[in-house]
Symmetry: C2
Subunit: 490 residues, 2 copies
Amino acid sequence: MAETIPHWLSKRAELSPDQTAIELPDGYHMTFLELASASQTFAKKLAENGVKEGSHIGILSNNSIDMVITIHALSYLGAVSVMLNTRLKEEELNYQVKDADVSFIIVSDEMENRIRKMKFPVSVLINTFSQIEQSTEKNTELKTEINIDNVFTIIYTSGTTGFPKGVMHTYGNHWWSAIGSALNLGLSENDKWLATLPIFHVGGLSIFIRSVIYGIPVYLLEKYDPALIHEAIMKKDVTIVSVVTIMLKELVQLLGNNHYPTAFRCMLLGGGPAPKPLLNQAKARRIPVFQSYGMTETSSQIVTLSPKNALEKIGSAGKPLFPAQLKIGNNKGEHVGEIYVKGPMVASGYYKNETATQKALRNGWLATGDLGYVDNEGFLYVVDRRNDLIISGGENIYPSEIESVLAGMEQIHEIGVVGKNDVKWGQVPVAFVVKNEEHVTSEDIVNYAKNALANYKIPKELYFVASLPKNASNKLLRNKLIERLEKRNK
Amino acid sequence: MAETIPHWLSKRAELSPDQTAIELPDGYHMTFLELASASQTFAKKLAENGVKEGSHIGILSNNSIDMVITIHALSYLGAVSVMLNTRLKEEELNYQVKDADVSFIIVSDEMENRIRKMKFPVSVLINTFSQIEQSTEKNTELKTEINIDNVFTIIYTSGTTGFPKGVMHTYGNHWWSAIGSALNLGLSENDKWLATLPIFHVGGLSIFIRSVIYGIPVYLLEKYDPALIHEAIMKKDVTIVSVVTIMLKELVQLLGNNHYPTAFRCMLLGGGPAPKPLLNQAKARRIPVFQSYGMTETSSQIVTLSPKNALEKIGSAGKPLFPAQLKIGNNKGEHVGEIYVKGPMVASGYYKNETATQKALRNGWLATGDLGYVDNEGFLYVVDRRNDLIISGGENIYPSEIESVLAGMEQIHEIGVVGKNDVKWGQVPVAFVVKNEEHVTSEDIVNYAKNALANYKIPKELYFVASLPKNASNKLLRNKLIERLEKRNK
């Protein structure tokens, strides 16, 4: 039976009108009553601009309160927010706008010039937050309830290969995700969650949904700035921060030999496997890092370490959240296999892409394309993307393991490992390295590797490069490294 | 879309195997892994005794670990637990067993003799916990998942009038109820919830479901004993206790001029309106009483005070829980009207009673039959049962208001107020009083009433009686008082 709940923002404003919803580093803050009221007003202005129930509305903005208000406003109209990555190029944006049937793009004022220069299908309207703000309010009926089976957002998977796919998240997907996280982390009225991840990704967006459902403030950073995060934890009573590896690395450096206040209870680490040396550094500083595993299709984390295990199970992403299940598809009878997940936070499919949906989802189980294993206590260890697996002389080599080990060298800033075709071994690992310091040599790196890795895992070639190819979500594009390799060897 | 989640007890045992699930005052405790394992074993023994998916199985027991194991065991088989009140008389039990299509009654060892003497429909099997324990285990497949739309329990509404009706609770009803409560009270890994309310009522049962979903221990009292509750709060780290008014009254007396430890964070008060003098006494002792409102049909509380408002809004039942909604049906254009509630914790109907279901539920809104009003900040005040309303000279009189005021007299143990037909006024209030002390007179009571109540609310007749008529759930049966009144006046 399709469940109906009160509109979550209206409900939160009823329950906790004076509670802070959003706080900025400059001290500005907005209560839930103010956020609900602003969102409802903006909804009526959007209606005046032609937004209707079922409309697909693109949002192109960096993190801002306006952006949060827009997302809530669209939900008051029953319209769907299509979250557009601000790092996308014209061609990529065009693809997503067309694929998602976007009729109207709402853009931040600062992005207006950029987007007005782009060529879109004729039917796409473009308006800035400020332009809509100046509209009159249409006397339209706003949603008072949410049917949790309705689609709330469409977010394109970053797709390290192939065309991106539009993941449809229902209100229920976001709801169950928030509840699953609360059942893992607990819920305190003193919580304050820092958001610096882009809201156009599900990892950033989900913080704002949790805030509404839990009744806790979001400490919003409009731009990523490690010094501001550090200050927010040290002095602004932030208790939870969602980060990716690179952020953790910078925060550990900023912390130096200090410690965070004891009220800071969770550094939620997502976005891919983290180097073990970094996790050990964090542990030495008593930083409560909770590794997690998730993706756009799972509406953010679906497997996460718990408070009890965060410091014991370093390197593990934890156990599946309460409403979720996990299994490993045993590839070739081995310990490591493809990770499958299931649960009510898993999106039900890709927009207008039944083929991709059927390929990814069977009986509710999502084939993640990631490889991993589960230890005898039920903890997940994510090993790598299945497509990135290197097979060398019959041995499986996981590029991220090599990357994780070598990233422990202080002289290395970043590293990407891929397989190179080899007559004798089938494939061998080779590495692309971005140096931190000038004086490191290939020999230094190989010597370091020899102490930590089996011989067949030691990169057979090393290329020093200025940067690594990444996608708009800052994920390493190993297929681009392989292309570079092929060009070099032509 | 019907949502599927892992079987909640198996999942909890995976996430928190060593966490205490149930603790007894004698120090015995059982972990979630042990509880899951015992429930799975018991399920296989029940299967050996013929219990199948879809079977309706009566459970007749006072609070015990065996009873909790039985409920979980039945869920592992996909069978439905029909919770039978141990205070029911033969005829009442017979009615419920027949009405709910119960094929098999599982009875506590101590109740065996009583029930074996009763005459049931031929097809009902009766077995004790011990007898089933001695069975062999059938090699049957147990549920690993829960479809939240499936029926988990049937509990008969105590029904102060008419025949009881079997309320069907789905797994989802219990799930959403537990989540709604967590979003209100918060969730701490240090929580421990005391259960002394009967498990055959939804108020007691729901504590065990929350325990599994939250991963916190239940401190289980097999019998109601105020001294044991007092000790559990003072010395056994209990943080939350669910009580009804009479229990709160006794606990306040036991506490005297002491205070509870600060870790004790919630005395969840349900089961009907509470006398204001008692709430004031509790406030003076800084007892964190959270009044709540709910019924069997709402899977326990659906409106509850929050930590922030518990001490300010004395007399209010609070605001509807996050997934729930509330409205007042305005009777005759007045402020007070019938209370309607809606939300995914509201049961979808009564077993095999479409007429009653359609009468109670319209578009998801449950007509509660209770009267109340909402203040300008959204807080609910429950006034009375609609059927109990007394109309006197055009004025509405709520018996529970008079009862609440007069219960503040130390000399009064209990009081029940009903309307008596009156030629001049239509109706007038009259009171049945159980005295605490011999020397109180009708005049004393009327004088006390004059200071607190409008003249038309002062009982026009007072009857001193030894006890008040109650149903099996300890609720005052005002219709029985009216019958007594009619007999007196014949």
